[in-house]
């Protein structure tokens, strides 16, 4: 009998990005990853600006600030602030749940099954509520303080 080589069937990075019919926590996982990588990219640019341009004195700094003061970069700063708020509060939720503190107790499954993430979804919703409130606070300040 000829040896058959099975065909690879991994979803790859598509499995990270496409959340399909799954529930809330899968989307929170995708956003956590995206905001983390986004903040990392911003960090590299931010470090270059605050070290290279800072150390060269006042004129270089003020010139850099006038370039960076237009609405496109201000929107980028707002998005970074929102990303930080989301990543921090979702990270707090992950810290509590991954240490088992915000998860349900193991009980024998009775149909219809309800997993412990679904049982604690009220807490997850509360944390998302806090995220939205803080994002609105930052939004208000960006609008008032000049975009």
């Amino acid at each position: 009998m000829r040896q058959i080589r099975p065909r690879q069937n991994y979803l790859g990075v598509g499995g990270w990005v496409w959340a399909g019919n799954y529930k809330l926590e899968r989307y929170l996982y995708i956003l956590h990853r995206v905001t983390g990588l986004g903040i990392l990219l911003f960090l590299l640019v931010h470090l270059i600006v605050t070290t290279f341009f800072r150390i060269q004195g006042q004129e270089v700094w003020e010139k850099a600030m006038t370039v960076l003061n237009n609405p496109l970069f201000k929107t980028g700063e707002f998005l970074v602030a929102v990303a930080f708020v989301y990543h921090a509060l979702n990270g707090l939720r992950l810290l509590l749940q991954e240490l088992g503190l915000l998860m349900a107790k193991p009980i024998p499954p009775i149909y219809p099954y309800s997993d412990s993430l679904r049982k604690k979804r009220l807490w997850t919703m509360a944390i998302i509520g806090i995220i939205i409130i803080l994002c609105l606070v930052f939004f208000y300040d960006f609008i008032v303080g000049g975009w």
Binding site: R2, I4, R5, P6, R7, Q8, N9, Y10, L11, G12, V13, G14, G15, W16, G20, N21, Y22, K23, E25, R26, Y29, H32, R33, L94, Q97, E98, L99, G100, M103, A104, P106, I107, P108, P109, I110, Y111, Y113, S114, D115, S116, L117, R118
Partner: protein
């Protein structure tokens, strides 16, 4: 859908023939289905009446053997446990479980899945080898100690959680929610003393620490085993052992067999009160 009335449902099944070596393709079948028919019933109808070359696994048809895991309308289900009516659609797309190699049509290769399950030593380990290999008595386990891990014993090893996991989608060395949940099931069993043997296997980069709590495994599990809960409790156990927090309970003691009673009757004798 009425039990007497039948509707014509289109089954779009992904076919793949390894002997041709070509790419997978979708083949459509029209299946008459009525209320109460499962997707597996539809596949068996296709095999008996329309195309007998279609390959799929099925055995118990009652969601206990774990053979018939498939991707139905882009969500992993057990085919025998899924009613055609619950999709409220006249088109069903059936594909094999992702994150496993495909052998033919809807049959996937579960050998790596079982190899990882074996690597985490899914059996009771005791320090006393003689007692472990040749047991002569029972272990003491209260009902509360059983409830700590009973939920995770209901796993039927169907592989649906591994298909749902986003980490398993890209990380080929990841153990998968099933192996990690079964590792916790044995570590939490108070009869077991094998934590130190299992922790170096799962407490690695490609082990438990690549789980980021997406929760898809628990959501899609057809038996309500909740592997996500088991994995987070396993992380908790790993952290408390590494930091040496908390007291480690000794494993369950053995209970000697009851003493032989003098009576030959199968029930204990009691005296009848004479008035």
């Amino acid at each position: 859908m009425d039990k007497q009335k039948t509707e014509q449902i289109t089954f779009r099944v992904q076919r793949y023939n390894p002997e041709n070596g070509s790419k997978p393709y979708i083949q459509e079948f029209i299946v008459p289905s009525s209320r109460g028919m499962t997707v597996l019933d539809g596949l068996i109808y296709i095999k008996e009446n329309l195309d007998s070359t279609i390959a799929f696994r099925a055995s118990c048809r009652m969601a206990i053997c774990g053979s018939c895991g498939m991707l139905i309308n882009n969500y992993p289900h057990l085919a025998c446990h899924t009613q055609i009516e619950e999709f409220h659609s006249d088109r069903l797309t059936i594909k094999p479980l992702p994150n496993f190699p495909i052998i033919k049509d809807l049959v996937v290769d579960l050998t790596p899945f079982f190899e990882i399950h074996k690597a985490i030593k899914p059996y009771i380990l005791r320090n006393d080898l003689e007692e472990m290999e040749n047991p002569v008595s029972e272990y003491a386990q209260s009902h509360q100690e059983l409830e700590n891990f009973l939920q995770f014993t209901y796993c039927i090893k169907c592989g649906i959680c591994v298909s749902a996991c986003p980490t398993s989608a890209s990380d080929k060395l990841f153990h998968g929610p099933q192996a990690l949940a079964q590792c916790y099931r044995y570590c939490a069993d108070n009869r077991d003393d094998g934590e130190l043997e299992r922790f170096p296997v799962v407490g690695t980069d490609h082990g438990v620490w690549h789980c980021h709590l997406a929760g898809a495994c628990s959501e899609s599990c057809p038996k309500g085993v909740d592997p996500a809960l088991a994995i987070q409790l396993l992380k908790r156990r790993l952290v408390s052992r590494t930091l040496r927090l908390g007291k480690k309970k000794p494993p369950a003691s053995t209970v000697p067999p009851p003493a032989q009673s003098k009576s030959k009757l199968p029930f204990p004798e009691f005296a009848v009160k004479q008035d």
